[in-house]
Subunit: 123 residues, 2 copies
Amino acid sequence: MADTASPVTEACPIVEVLDHVAGKWAIGILVAAAHGPVRFTALEREVEGISRRMLTLTLRKLERDGLLVRTVYPTVPPRVEYTLTDIARELHQTLVGLTSWAEKHRGTIAEARRSYDRHSATP
Amino acid sequence: MADTASPVTEACPIVEVLDHVAGKWAIGILVAAAHGPVRFTALEREVEGISRRMLTLTLRKLERDGLLVRTVYPTVPPRVEYTLTDIARELHQTLVGLTSWAEKHRGTIAEARRSYDRHSATP
DNA sequence: CCGGATCCGGGAAGATACTG
DNA sequence: CAGTATCTTCCCGGATCCGG
């Protein structure tokens, strides 16, 4: 934990895993699906701005990594539900910390960004 | 640089902020720089696999967002140190949770991935 | 020692149209 | 309702050379 040399540099399997979570839509989908089994169209509505294609692709990726379970009900019309696995729920807990951090400091960050851009403006 | 306003980031400033943290190298750099002021070459060594270019670009982005402070010592040869700001330190705390999650479950994830690939193999 | 500038390939992502 | 398929565009990221 409090090691002097952080093990980030060795082989970096962590970065590999995080790369998948770090996709543009993954976090949004995980947060949207955290409150229970969610249907495809519900996700399409909740994760605003996402396209059908990217929703499908990201869902497949998350399913492949064992973060989401896809359940198909052979009804008419078809119905598919996505549920977070246990490890995804654990992940969601840390994601909550991340999002609250972002909420808490988004003003400061926006300000810092403006200040930086103003300073590096080329008149 | 001049970030064009996309409809997604308008509605969701959190995603916009997280998008920057979610870059391929940002987390590694933040973790590597967390233990104190770090020089450019030290980061280049610690965040193994990163190129000079990406290191520079990511550092600039983090600096722009007010997560890193860049201090230039006008010596010969030049010496530059990067230090985490307070909000970056807060972020680093949640990042620790994220990385330990990844460490803890990377085996499970790798297994799930293999299982998924085996099942969806096309004979 | 710490970068910036440029060229270029590949994957991510949008738009659109079609299907079981 | 829940996806596929295809095409195109964009920008991330590596390689390389140059500069203070």
